[in-house]
Symmetry: none
Subunit: 205 residues, 4 copies
């Protein structure tokens, strides 16, 4: 590092953020990014291996935080609901986790929109599926326990995958259609209600 500690790299990241956010991965131009950062192409390639890696720099932070919450959520849920599951009477941990995710998504609003809707062409273009898989894995672990309880159907893989996918889409909707974090949090309960409604319609006979 010279005098200006990471200055160039920061300018590149800032310019990249704006370019990616406004044009999406494929249509973003590295040339443009360099120009707006006041830096030459060579400099970009000193700090980043390629376009994909630069893109990663922009979206990795929120991605990491969301991943962490999801992982913790699963661990927690598994411990808690081993023996009972009484969804009806509480908004319980699901609601808490949902709030956490909304908080993260709006903390990095533009980055998350970028990651979840404009990443086509990049190595993150299937990130949605990754989230779905993580959630699904968690639900699968819970499955056997739920099935022991009264009135719960066995749900086949297709349906489970579908419902998990919809859940992810719901959060993306919240992210892309709410003006502010406050609005999102205000609407969240209705959305959770909606998700659960669908969930129980399928799980209960």
């Amino acid at each position: 590092m010279t005098a200006k500690d990471g200055e160039t790299k920061n300018r590149l990241i800032k310019a990249a953020r704006e370019e990616f956010i406004s044009k999406g991965y494929t249509n973003a131009s590295l040339r443009n990014i360099c120009k707006n950062a006041g830096v030459t192409t060579g400099a970009l390639y000193f700090f980043f291996k390629d376009k994909d890696e630069l893109f990663g720099e922009i979206v990795s932070m929120p991605l990491f935080e969301i991943d962490r919450v999801l992982t913790e959520h699963q661990a927690f849920e598994f411990d808690t609901y081993q023996d009972s599951y009484d969804e009806e009477e509480s908004e319980g941990p699901d609601m808490d986790v949902s709030i956490l995710i909304v908080e993260i998504m709006f903390k990095y609003k533009q980055e998350c929109i970028l990651l979840l809707t404009q990443a086509a062409g990049s190595k993150y273009e299937n990130i949605k599926d990754k989230f779905v898989s993580e959630l699904e894995a968690g639900y699968k672990k819970m499955g056997p326990h739920l099935e022991k309880l009264n009135g719960y159907n066995k749900v086949d893989d297709y349906t489970l995958h579908y419902m998990t996918h919809m859940q992810v889409e719901a959060f993306i909707y919240l992210l892309t259609h709410s003006k502010s974090k406050e609005e999102a949090l205000k609407e969240l309960p209705y959305i959770v209600k909606h998700i659960r409604g669908g969930w129980f319609a399928v799980f209960k006979s």
Copy 2:
């Protein structure tokens, strides 16, 4: 070497179909299409105004058919449910329409996937929103009638829009995750059940 019967045009369309489907609108290359069709660039531009119009040639047919079903659906539903609405006990017309849509989507499977998930950059890039709007408009007309019935809440615009959006996503899911029309039709009832479950969870207090 003058071909008859629109042979050249057909070869162009076929090559375009493959290129668009495998790469999406933006990343498809007209050069490639021409090369694979064994035709010069000039020929392409004799038949099609530009890339967008060529793309339209591939996706307009399913788009048209889906639009028609949606329009008829709305008209029908509005007439039928003016006075009563007993969702619980039947799978009624909604199910019928859903089946119709699935039929169309799988009749033109690749084209629909293209249109609904790979159209970014083309004039159809907001087609999903258009479907959502059409459905939403239909539901809004039904709103006042539903509100007269026992136990139905008034649903605000945000939530209505959200639910409609999810409904469209559900169909896209069905399209992209089912191996065959048969599998899609087999899963459809569960999905409809899921949608309705969410729907009533919100509509009923």
Copy 3:
């Protein structure tokens, strides 16, 4: 000729006129002309050998008329001024010819502007030089007679060519900078006065 006598050809000419006038020779598009004429490319090539010939169809008429006036003018002037030349006291035949030329130029205003300022790339791109040569040839015939008169210098070829060229430019100016034939005719005397002023400054010692 079929029923519609020369209809297609006329439509082509009309469309070509508009295209050439608004874009100049090089930037005019034959494709566009055909489209606006509601005719296929093949038809154009049935009536016209190539772009140049079509262009000729538009500009040949005024060209012909101007040529004729210039030719007659020379013949006339030569006969008249064999023995005397008293420019100072009359506006004489020069003025008459100038009026005639202005009349023609404004009768085909757009076509003449096209021919004189937008013909680059066509076979008429040196038409200005042709006019200059014609005029010059006329003046050369008059030269020996003028030189016999008192106070007239011999004018070298370079200067004669220059003055003739300027004279042509003066008419082009009149054409391109006057709003109407009337305005052009109103300004014409001043321009002729200007030309003659220059002329005599050189011819007389």
Copy 4:
């Protein structure tokens, strides 16, 4: 193969010069320029924003120098002739400025021809009008002073504009029709005489 000293850029400029001069702005081909420079298209666009900027590189130098002389000319003339104006007996500063302009024009002969007669389509396509306007503005400042002197008419805008335009055309003629600077300078006095002759024919009653 990395060249030093702007070698590539120079080769590009040289090739561009030749291409533009021989074909004019519109018909010059960037592809051709690159080929003749032995360079790839990308290289061209590294050095120049677009065709217009490359063209500017060729013609901006003479343009700048001519502009400077014109500007200084105006300032000077205005100072000098505030109180008297005796055109008849001297060739005065007008002649000096004319010589200067001829010197510049022939220093960059091909470039000036390009700029003044082949720039259609480029951002310089109206450069002639710009020169006319500059000169005209200068004359307008002198107008009131001239009118105070004996025997000077007021000249209307149309005529003034016309005469200025002709003056510019005269210099273009000199440029395009003289074999060498020497020939141009030899002819210049006659041309100035011609211009003044026209000028006084109009200015004096």
